[in-house]
Symmetry: C4
Subunit: 284 residues, 4 copies
């Protein structure tokens, strides 16, 4: 099914440079136009759910949605045409996202049921995930991601501990307040405990008894304190990641490390530093 790489025409190569590339002017313009189209089409779907707007401009929005669907269909077909390995693109994360974001409009033609149409309209929202592509080119995102991956076990332990605290507090509140004060079941009490411990505090369920209010106050203080834990974990990791990034630039003369990202000379012996791009590529 996948097209072999040998029939790679110049047209295909050029299209690939525009559609998949990001370092040519044409590629950057294409990305920009595509992003505007994505945001506009998502914006249309959002405001179409506002009843008065749907009734007044429903027709216009439907036409605009079809225009975007056709644009995205052409884009999908061109991507499929010019990719080196078509099957590989079609199965890739962004290939699936590209397909899912155009299918719903066509499905709505075939199955014109009202409720089904909503589900289809929602599917179209998947198109927004394309924007995630841009994250790839931002090195700062990598630091955050690496910090999160490194701290994931600590964060997991944190959430595990919070779950236990929530469970115990919910049972206590369920016993104290009971169904007559809105704590109609332990899952409902758990909802209240999470609302309280995360300091959201809707106020749709509130303790009415004095003892319940005392335990609620304790719950708030617990939530207020443990908030410090994931922050502490992530801050320590981000600090370390930032330090590591600085350490990437080593002077070739004296071996001194820890230069700023935009430094050109070693701050210890004055030797010119290699450019950052080179260093990072060497690392990979």
């Amino acid at each position: 099914m996948g097209a072999p790489a040998d029939n790679d025409t110049p047209l295909k190569q050029q299209l690939r440079g525009i559609i998949f590339g990001t370092n040519t002017t044409a590629g950057r313009y294409f990305d920009l136009i595509l992003m505007v189209c994505i945001i506009l089409s998502v914006g249309l779907i959002l405001i179409d759910t506002i009843e008065p707007i749907h009734q007044a401009y429903g027709g216009v929005i439907r036409v605009a949605e079809w225009i975007f669907t056709i644009i995205f269909t052409i884009e999908y077909l061109v991507r499929l045409y010019c990719s080196i390995n078509r099957w590989h693109y079609a199965r890739s994360f962004f290939g699936v996202v590209d397909l899912v974001s155009i299918l719903p409009s066509y499905l709505a033609l075939i199955f014109p049921g009202a409720n089904f149409a909503l589900a289809i309209r929602i599917l179209r929202l998947f198109r927004i995930f394309r924007v995630l592509k841009l994250l790839r080119y931002l090195s700062e995102g990598n630091i955050l991601l690496r910090a999160m991956v490194h701290s994931s076990r600590k964060i997991f332990i944190f959430f595990f501990s919070v779950s236990l605290i929530v469970l115990v507090l919910s049972v206590i509140m369920y016993v104290i307040e009971g169904p007559q004060n809105g704590f109609s079941s332990i899952p409902k009490a758990m909802y209240w405990t999470i609302v309280t411990i995360t300091t959201v505090g809707y106020g749709d369920i509130t303790p009415q008894t004095s003892l319940g209010q005392a335990i609620a106050a304790a719950t708030m203080l617990i939530g207020y304190s443990i908030l410090a834990i994931p922050t502490g974990i992530l801050t320590a990791e981000i600090s370390q990641e930032m330090g590591r990034e600085r350490d990437l630039r080593k002077c070739s003369n004296c071996g001194h490390k820890g230069h700023d990202k935009n430094a050109s000379y070693c701050n210890h012996c004055g030797t010119e530093l290699e450019s950052l791009e080179l260093e990072i590529e060497q690392k990979d």
Copy 2:
């Protein structure tokens, strides 16, 4: 009462490896199955408190609970049988948790009162604490715990200061707003102050007078700022703990410290590093 260690049969040893051990395949499977049972039995107790579910599936849930009770009873008896010092296990934290988690079902047979049954059902929730056992094997948990233990005095001083601020603000709000606006007593005003200073903000009691609203705004800003304090304390401690963990790995050749957890060679002189497990055991 405690069994002497000399009549230690191979069967006992094998059972001990499965039930108490965590580094054999059988031991790991046993832990996994037990954890699933614990979570399912706790889940049952939770959803049984939802009235419609209790009325529709009450019978099924009772049967399932008895099955779990029998499983946990067998587990408790086997643990008691194969432990080197039975009395020591029975008195240990997890020994008591294991007993407490099966007793309620049997007590419900003897005392069939409706209200009493609820108390018994809640006792069964203590079984969840067994999951805490798993925390032992996660070294990351130790860092968090050590950071918390190290910062406990600072956190205590913080909470002590917060209590004083809460007390003073509550008295002021009680005097300004008074019982006619929901601040019916100083303890009630303290509940409001904690709801506000932790930024929970239920909205069940809100200031009505202009002066009250001004002081409420000040309370919020205070709460917003002091939240930074426990976070700062814990972050500084976690950073230090993480640095200390890195320092555990010292090069045997040049004495250089601060290697990554998964580094194999000294990043200063290239000598192969001893494995982390060894180093940590040496420390203990």
Copy 3:
């Protein structure tokens, strides 16, 4: 239009020292008096919007506002008179702010419409931005600003990711809860998601279904956790900025860095350190 610099009389120079300068006693007093006038005039505009106060003291407030308008008019004219390049001042940020803060009162004389008057009164609030001038003299503000500028790309990625999470959660909640529970459109559901994910939690829209409450709880926990990310980014940046500031003071004898801001002697070799002011000026 701009006045040439050659007709620079001693009177102009003296006025310039008082009005624009900040290091003479007269200049400092002028700044202080001006700031009090700004705060008082803004305070008047604020309390004038309280209906009972407007009805009782409306006349007094109008008179006081005219006094402030005249003071600010004189200030503007003197500034214009004594600035080296009048056109340059008039077009500068603070020149425009100064003009905008006096114009509304005169416009209210010409167009005496009630609704228009409100718009004019609001324009007067722009005068508060003058206070921003004082920020310039606080070096601590620079650290915060630099930390924010340095972390702006990371913060942008963070907000971009949060927007995507908000969008997805809003669509899910809109489908689950629907218009009958207050989630009347996706934009309204987005409002709810932001209220929840930032842990504000008004409680004007709350989930009513069990599934909705479960997803709401997940939303809160997500919001609770990701709060750690911008804090971690900024803390790491501020730490680095503070370290950089300490590094500015280098011993001229041994080259040792990292002295305290108010240190007079090198903490390594005891040589007297150059004053901080000199060092910073050298840097600029």
Copy 4:
């Protein structure tokens, strides 16, 4: 008025050791008993404001309050008697607190008005500040305090900027939502903005228009982000303070610094370290 130090009898010295001292057994017991009395007397005042309790146990509480008043009166007189410089003690912060905490009960005898009695009862709450004395002996408190003092200018700039943001957002919301949606004046809109920006979110005033809800969402995101700033400032300062504390312990042999608080030997050359108490005293 102040007593000269020459008539310093052994009785006075002994009393001073018990009452003002904290390193003798008797002094520690005295502090403990006093603290229990303070907490109990404050607790009484708090629960006496609960109407049902006041009606049922009002008489008992009044008697208990008189007992505490007499205890604190004796304590005050003994403190005055045995202090080296009586006038100095009487004018000191804690001297005034001690007097203020006993006066109200006596004033209530002279002026028996009901409303006045409340004011007097509240004055008695000042006694709680005595507990602050204990903070002095906790070195951890000093770190927090120093970190806060060091960061006070940054925190001030932060609050100043937040005030400007709050003012601008309040004016915008007042114009958009107006009195018909609860934003009856700019000060009221400022109350709402603070409730929102600190993520408290009572929900007593909520935006009703679409534009208002969009700006409210922006306000929440601003509040959510700027929360990171004071946390970042304080964390960086606390980290620095903790590093400085570690640096206090310098090896007398090799000059190596950065030993743990409870280390006994230099971790660089093995020389026994001087005790921490000595080092800290030397510093002061």
